[in-house]
Symmetry: C2
Subunit: 241 residues, 2 copies
Amino acid sequence: MATYKRYRKEDSVSYSLGLTLTFELLKYKAEYVRKIYVHSAMKPGDTLDKLTVLCKDAGIDMVYTDKIFHVLSGKENCYVIGEFSKFAGNLCIEESHVVLVNPSNAGNMGTIMRSALGFGIRQIAIVRPAVDAFDPKTVRASMGAVFSIDFKYFDSFSDYMKQFEEGRELYPFMLDAKKRIYNICPQGVFSLIFGNEATGLPEQFADIGTSVVIPHSNKIDSLNLPIAASIAMYEATKGRV
Amino acid sequence: MATYKRYRKEDSVSYSLGLTLTFELLKYKAEYVRKIYVHSAMKPGDTLDKLTVLCKDAGIDMVYTDKIFHVLSGKENCYVIGEFSKFAGNLCIEESHVVLVNPSNAGNMGTIMRSALGFGIRQIAIVRPAVDAFDPKTVRASMGAVFSIDFKYFDSFSDYMKQFEEGRELYPFMLDAKKRIYNICPQGVFSLIFGNEATGLPEQFADIGTSVVIPHSNKIDSLNLPIAASIAMYEATKGRV
């Protein structure tokens, strides 16, 4: 009899919790889906029929059980779970990137993925140590964006630079920066670089490319990371989306 | 012997969980503080001394107990809790506002408060039904902004309009809108109006003031609410902060 465990970073699979998210998974990453779990409270009808057809066409097993929901989904209304193998992504030199240096919060990373997809920045570099992009919390906060953007982990920022520095405009976001955000206007391929939620970017990033600040009053210490990253993406892509 | 209960919306008091937040509470709303709780794991030293002096000066009792932390603070490192009476705020006609119509998520509301304070918009109107601005999750996500902005609840949007419509530029944010955000430039006092996380603003808001959209790709359904609200505040206050 199957037993289910909590998700761990080391696992080779992760989960989409909820119906909408699972449809996104099936739409963009069907080849990685291993199973679809359906809760007994899921009502028969068009939605379940649609899910059943999608699974049948893709040769994916549907498992009717409530057990995995107790383990994975907490209190929320969640009647469908998708189990998928973790997949690898690649970045390319022709695309603009968001670079997250040592992000520590799964929800924040997911929210940034969602905004990135919204503003047409489809590639994200993540510099370790960093939170897990496959954490079900990241997946959920991304509203499925994790299945259609590309992301890749790097062991250090210099590893990223070795591959991608050339021919690219670099904008590290820091409080003590050269330029205010509304005075920059990327002309070509760019990278928007953000530090950890609590500590920001180390000061040596001030020597990389053009450092940028989003001005705010001295009544707050900083903007929340996904807010700052989204404002940056909004400005950098203005009029292009 | 004192017993402690989980926070409920009906309570007359709420809590700041954590040291930084409690210092913000003492800085901006000292007159509402009822007690400061200190956990046994809180180390003696300058910080505790500073807290002790502040409490002594303001005539606030410090209670050394671990019990309330078990009930209120979950797993995180939290060694100080402030208990405060809920306070009332007022809005005024000379100030620009953020108007949240039926917001449902405590963390989102707190994040919006933090951004608002950062962009110099110090007053928030909240239209019921709505999440509780005093929920400890709101307080925490606001990073203390809840103690220095003004906010007020209204039973309906028309109640808000009766008091504040006159002489004010109104900008409801909706996907199906008249103007793109970078084509608006408020000249005077304004209100930025946002709907519920899942449903947005009802369509009749299209007839109020100038409806505005933040353009994004069709790959996402919408931006996350605090992201959209923060981009709007950023644009509306650009160069003023």
